[in-house]
Amino acid sequence: MKRFLIILTLFSFSILFFSPSYSLANNLSEKTEITQSEHSSEHNIFENPPSPYMVIPFIVLLLMIATGPLFYRHFWEHNYPKVSITLGLITVLYYLFIFNDPLSLLHTLEEYISFIALLTSLFVVAGGILIRVDRKSTPIANVILLFIGAIISNLIGTTGASMLLIRPYIRMNRNRIKPYHIIFFIFIVSNIGGGLTPIGDPPLFLGFLKGIEFFWVIKHVWYIWLLAIGLVLAIFYLIDLNNYKSKAADDEKEYTGKIEIRGKKNFLYLLIIIISVFLDPGVLSFVPSLDPLPFGIREIIMFSVAFISYKRADKEALKGNEFDFEPIKEVAFLFVGIFATMIPALQLVAYETHTYGEKLTADIFYWGTGLLSSILDNAPTYLNFLSAAMGKFGLSIDNYQHVKIFETHDPIYLMAISVGAVYFGAMTYIGNGPNFMVKSISESSGIKLPSFFGYVVKYSIPILLPVFTLIWLLFFYGRG
């Protein structure tokens, strides 16, 4: 089966590169021209949008991602790669042979490789670090750990921070752990925490790949982040204090207060990955471009670091973390389909919003991005709403210069979309990649967590929704 999937993937990529309608090398100069020219591809999209029916594979895939693990888990676990690649292939074939727009496929392939290189490298390197915290689990110690996790998630991603900290967090709380401990970890470390940098959360990284400045998010939303994290941590503290008072007497163990770390050399690998994020010819002019290849120096470094760190990893750290490639394999396969099938969705959103963009306000972008990010993956949702917001001003998300104009023109829209996509990812288990990973690690340690609906009804709606409503009232209500 694996061989079949690899062949299928290579086949679809080879179609992209060696299609009779598109020769990559011959069209390199044309590509540059199209990207930079005023008469660029977005004009073609506005005049000649893709067929609306081509959104069907995207919708089908997102619905299956949302419902598969819940309602037909066994089928989904064994067939998601086939489903994702098959749906993606429908879009690839349409763009190659019917819509004749291979350039959009090429852009998407480049973004996919960048995206998966970052996630894979952070996942593998963080998986080789084992942290043991031998401290008593007090509410204040938990608050400090979660706050540190929120900051770290901006440096190594919500996926990396979740991988790094969930086990030490469970170990520290093993004598009195309850489902809410894990759920607040998902809220803070796996989602809201990563809302400051493009490394933090996949939607923001996709925005960075589209051309949004690296420090744009932290400059514009740091105070919203601080308020959200502060409020959620305060609620956690009150709940945890109650639990602590009833259980503290049961914990007779003596603690050394030590923090032990195995696999320290992996921090050096993490540093290399973070530095390599900036190694983009668009960001630093001295970085050589590897055109016509669909990846650059950055991606080569990231994959190399992932490979070397795994080969040279501390085996005890891997064993302690029960390291497994399955989560990243799942992300890689699902996002092949998501990236491919969302091309027509993005283009149609830009086309439609160009027509009635006047009616779209920051409120709509905040709640729209947020609510859809809760039930769909937040990365494609972010891109769809970014495309819509840009379409409102006649700008195209596929044009680097247009993105630059958009981020400075009126930042309220980009702020609403960024906050909505990242924060609302915490509303359900399926809102963001690390949520399911943390759930899975916790359950494989023996902690019974609430069902999909239990999570939403008992935790997200009573805790997160009031916080997000307050953020809307303070920062986005009636603006834009």
Binding site: H74, L130, R132, R167, I170, R171, R174, I177, E316, L318, K319, G320, N321, E322, F323, D324, F325, E326, K439, S440, I441, E443, S444, S445, G446, I447, K448
Partner: protein
């Protein structure tokens, strides 16, 4: 050979064939953690597992899988919380946590968890 202690002392391995795991001891099962599934229903109507006790060993059938080898990496494991037949099942200090590693050639390596490895009772 029928107690957990004897099996651990003599470093006995279990074996598996497809979805059948054969453990070299008899015990009372309290919890099985198979990937992220927490199994606590060991009644005859359980849809997840079926346990058959023999004189010197125990069969555990994972009903939802054809071959459990496909489900685990080399660092991944099945976790058990069990109790010796002769011990008081109501005494939490008598509960034993075990890790089962699925190896090649039908071998199931049985280990006690190290301090780094977490199993919540």
């Amino acid at each position: 050979m029928s107690t957990i202690k004897e099996a651990l002392d003599k470093k006995r391995n279990g074996i598996y064939y497809n979805n059948r795991v054969i453990l070299p001891f008899k015990c009372e099962f309290l919890k099985i953690i198979f990937e992220d599934k927490i199994i606590t229903d060991f009644s005859s109507s359980s849809s997840e597992v079926e346990i058959i006790e023999h004189d010197n060993f125990t069969d555990v059938y994972f009903k939802k899988y054809k071959d459990i080898q496909n489900e685990f990496s080399k660092y991944d494991n099945i976790k058990l919380i069990v109790c010796e037949k002769s011990d008081d099942i109501f005494d939490f200090s008598k509960h034993i946590k075990l890790l089962l590693y699925i190896e090649n050639e039908h071998l199931v390596r049985i280990e006690l968890p190290e301090e780094n490895q977490i199993i919540i009772d």
